[in-house]
Structures are given as structure tokens and as C-alpha cells.
């Protein structure tokens, strides 16, 4: 017999059943109090005051969403030739790294072109496109998305410099062409350990909430979660950290893409 309930009731009942019994709770209380009383009295390590959205090296678990990534190097000659990558692929000049995160008009035109072509090819079932440094990947949704869905381009740029006097070096850059309000998880085909999670929501005032989780297999592994409000055409630094490899900064920018062509 499976009595039907609301989701709230179902979860609360489960939480009640899974709570420890009285004896287990007492045992845990004793263990906690003992741990506290026997903890080292050396200068205490700081307790985290907050999980700052710009604190990047937070170890992050990724949901196993099981997206089957159709990884194709498609339209490469067409798109990658037109989609401008940073002109100086290895080095990013001091002070100019923010500009590298900004989309140019030509890049947006190229993105829109490939998006429309792929969307047409797959009858509107395109879920997302990732334009990497030398590859293009995409995935399909089970069904067509509404023509009114807001499409956006998001750039993720990671730069590092070993010391404050050194030049910034680009270690990762990808553009993601996605639909607002779709939560997507993208496995980077270049490295099976790299994952990007993205969710974008357009606010009534035209700004975008961009929620990003990434776990990149570069420089010993970079993991971060950020949640920021971004404005079109205005790149923003969303994460910064000191690592054994130097200072790492993560920049992001967003641009809305025009609606589908008929």
C-alpha cells in the first residue's frame, strides 16, 4: 500500500524516520562535547564565516546528471575560424585580462550562426553548445525548446600569474551558448575530470543571475562555485585565489543572443 502524500509531507516523514534515536543522539552529544574539550588550545583555526561566492577552492560535489554529451568537432572550420579566440593565446597582458573576457561583435555573430545552424539541424532540440579553444561540443534536449527561450552566450576565462610582476597566462577559456533557466552540466571532452555547471536567469531589469560551478582539470585542479549578477557587455571577476601556481582569477561575461530565425 502506498498512501499518496504531498512532496513536503513525504520528505518530512522521511527526515523524521531517518533521525537518530535517543541513545544514538546522546552518544553523539557526548562525542561532540569530548571533541571540543580535548581540542588543541593552540590558536584556533578560523571558522569559515561564510562560503563566499567568490571563494574558488571550495571542494565541490557535482551531481551525476548523466548528460550524454554528443561530443563532435563540427563546423570547426566554419565556426572556430570565425570565433575569435584571444589573439595572444598563451599570455594575457596585465590589466587586459578583463578585456579578454568581453565578447566582440564578430564573436557573437559567429556564435549566433553556429547556434542557428545546429538548432535547425536538430529541429530545435539543441540544449547547449560549448566553444572551446579548438573544439565545439553540444548536447541535445529530449524535445524542442520553445522558440521564445532566451539564449545567451557566457564566457569563462581563467588566468594565472606566478607572481605579481608576471604577466597573466590564460589557462582556460570556453564560451557556452545556453538557454536561460536551463540548468546544464557539461563534461569537458578534453579532460574527463573537468565539469561545468551553469544556470542563468534573466532578471526583470535585464541583468542576468549567473550561477556557475566548475571543476577544471588545469593547474592541479580548480574548483569553484560562484553566483553573480552580470550585465551584458561588462565582464566581471567572479573568483580569485592564491594557489601553489600563483594567483588565479576567473572572469565571466554574458551576452544575450537574438531569438531564433524563422
Amino acid at each position: 500500500m502506498k498512501p499518496h502524500r504531498t512532496l513536503d509531507t513525504l520528505l518530512k516523514d522521511w527526515a523524521h524516520r531517518s533521525a537518530p534515536d535517543f541513545a544514538s543522539r546522546r552518544k553523539l552529544e557526548a562525542a561532540v562535547v569530548a571533541r571540543i574539550k580535548t581540542r588543541p588550545h593552540a590558536p584556533p583555526s578560523p571558522a569559515p564565516s561564510a562560503r563566499s561566492p567568490v571563494n574558488p577552492w571550495l571542494q565541490l560535489a557535482w551531481g551525476a546528471t548523466g548528460l550524454a554529451v554528443a561530443s563532435l568537432v563540427l563546423l570547426a572550420c566554419l565556426h572556430l575560424g570565425q570565433a575569435p579566440r584571444p589573439r595572444d593565446p598563451d599570455m594575457v597582458s596585465n590589466g587586459l585580462e578583463m578585456d579578454r573576457a568581453r565578447f566582440s561583435g564578430a564573436e557573437l555573430d559567429a556564435h549566433l550562426l553556429v547556434l542557428d545552424e545546429l538548432d535547425r539541424l536538430f529541429n530545435g532540440r539543441l540544449s547547449w553548445v560549448r566553444v572551446g579553444e579548438a573544439s565545439l561540443d553540444f548536447d541535445l534536449a529530449p524535445r524542442s525548446s520553445p522558440a521564445s527561450a532566451q539564449r545567451v552566450a557566457v564566457r569563462l576565462l581563467v588566468v594565472v600569474r606566478p607572481d605579481p610582476e608576471a604577466r597573466w597566462q590564460r589557462v582556460y577559456s570556453s564560451d557556452f551558448l545556453v538557454q536561460a533557466d536551463d540548468y546544464i552540466t557539461i563534461a569537458d571532452p578534453i579532460s574527463k575530470d573537468s565539469r561545468i555547471g551553469l544556470w542563468i536567469h534573466r532578471l526583470p531589469d535585464g541583468h542576468f543571475v549567473v550561477d556557475t560551478e566548475f571543476n577544471l582539470d588545469v593547474r592541479g585542479g580548480l574548483s569553484a562555485h560562484s553566483s553573480h549578477v552580470l550585465s551584458s557587455g561588462q565582464p566581471r571577476r567572479v573568483a580569485r585565489a592564491m594557489t601553489p601556481h600563483g594567483e588565479v582569477r576567473v572572469y565571466q561575461s554574458i551576452e544575450p543572443l537574438a531569438s531564433r530565425k524563422g
Binding site: M1, K2, H4, R5, T6, L7, D8, L10, L11, K12, W14, A15, R17, S18, A19, P20, D21, R25, R26, L28, E29, A30, A31, V32, V33, R35, I36, K37, R39, P44, S45, P46, A47, P48, S49, A50, R51, S52, P53, L58, Q59, L60, A61, W62, G63, A64, T65, D181, Y183, T185, W199, H201, L203, V209, D211, E213, S223, H225, S227, V229
Partner: protein, 187 residues
């Protein structure tokens, strides 16, 4: 075991800071152990891990209480530490899939008076746990904080350090996924 203190959280913190009496700290901690432990279990879905993490959380609280500045409520500060611990743990477990606690199914802790009912409860709990495990940890945290723990979306957004819009979306998306997974049990 229960320390007899009925003052507010802030009063206990103030008293502990002023007098350095461990009883005040014990009272504060004992007050929150059940909630923190339940919250951790609902995120990591393993009883032994939840117990270990509960200890870690309160050691951090004890070490950091001197720097609690009162800008947020104590519970918000505590739950942030709790969720940080949970997310960090899940990150470690994800990178180390050989860990024995990897999403190990948990037995239902029923009292066994009704064998038929217990079997049904086990089946239902397995389904609920599987559905929760299938959620991205951020979505799971949103559901645990708001639907199970009854924390407001605004407060949950502060705890998870995200915008309110993001929290609303996470709740919406998590509910959508859970409803799909648990459709046969729902009205």
C-alpha cells in the same frame, strides 16, 4: 548531559566570551546538535559520515566562536559552517569514489513493530534517498534547508551564499526533479 541554559544564543555566546565558562558553550552546542546532525545526514545520506561531520562542525564552531561578530544570527553562521562541511565532504567523496561511504544505502531505523509497514517504509525510504542522491548537491541543499528544515528561502540564500533568485530556482528545480522521481507516491 543537557546543560540548563535557556537564554538566547547570543546571550550564551556573550556569557561564554565574558566568563570563558565552557558550560555556556556546551549549552549552545547541545541546543543545535540534533538539527545540525539531521541536516548533515539529509545532505550526505550516510549516518556514520553525518556523525563525523557533526563533530567537525562543532569543533569549528568552538574554535571560531570568538570571531563570531553577530552580523548574522548565530544559527545562520552555524548552518553556513554546516553546509560548507557537507559540500566539502561531498567534493572529497566525489574525487575519491573508492571511499567506502560512497552513497551507501542506509538502513531504515524503524522500531520493527510492523513488519509489513517496515518493508514498505524501507522501500519508500530507498526511493526517497535515491531521488535525493540524484540531485545536484546544491539542489539537495536547497530542499533540505527550506522544505525539510523549514528555513526561509531568504535565509537559505544567506546560508548558501547565493542570490535569492538562485535559491528560488534551486528549490523549484529540485522540487521538479523530486516530483518526477517520486510521482507514484505523491498525490
Amino acid at each position: 548531559m543537557e546543560a540548563d541554559w535557556s537564554g538566547s544564543d547570543e546571550a550564551l555566546i556573550e556569557a561564554y566570551r565574558d566568563g570563558g565558562q565552557p558550560d555556556h558553550l556546551d549549552a549552545l552546542i547541545l541546543r543545535y546538535i540534533p538539527t545540525v546532525r539531521n541536516m548533515l545526514y539529509q545532505i550526505v545520506l550516510n549516518h556514520a559520515d553525518a556523525d563525523d561531520l557533526t563533530q567537525e562542525v562543532f569543533v569549528r564552531v568552538a574554535n571560531g566562536i570568538g570571531r563570531f561578530n553577530g552580523n548574522a544570527r548565530f544559527s545562520t553562521w552555524l548552518y553556513r559552517i554546516t553546509m560548507n562541511q557537507a559540500h566539502d565532504f561531498l567534493g572529497r567523496r566525489k574525487r575519491n569514489p573508492a571511499a567506502p561511504s560512497e552513497f551507501a544505502p542506509e538502513p531504515v531505523t524503524g522500531d520493527g513493530h510492523d513488519p509489513g509497514g517496515t518493508v514498505a517504509a524501507i522501500e519508500l525510504d530507498d526511493r526517497i534517498q535515491a531521488a535525493l542522491q540524484g540531485l545536484n548537491p546544491r539542489l539537495r541543499a536547497a530542499i533540505v534547508l527550506t522544505m525539510i528544515q523549514g528555513i526561509s528561502a531568504t535565509e537559505a540564500a544567506r546560508i548558501e551564499s547565493c542570490t535569492l533568485a538562485t535559491m528560488y530556482w534551486r528549490i523549484h528545480e529540485a522540487r521538479r526533479q523530486l516530483k518526477r522521481q517520486l510521482a507514484e507516491y505523491l498525490t
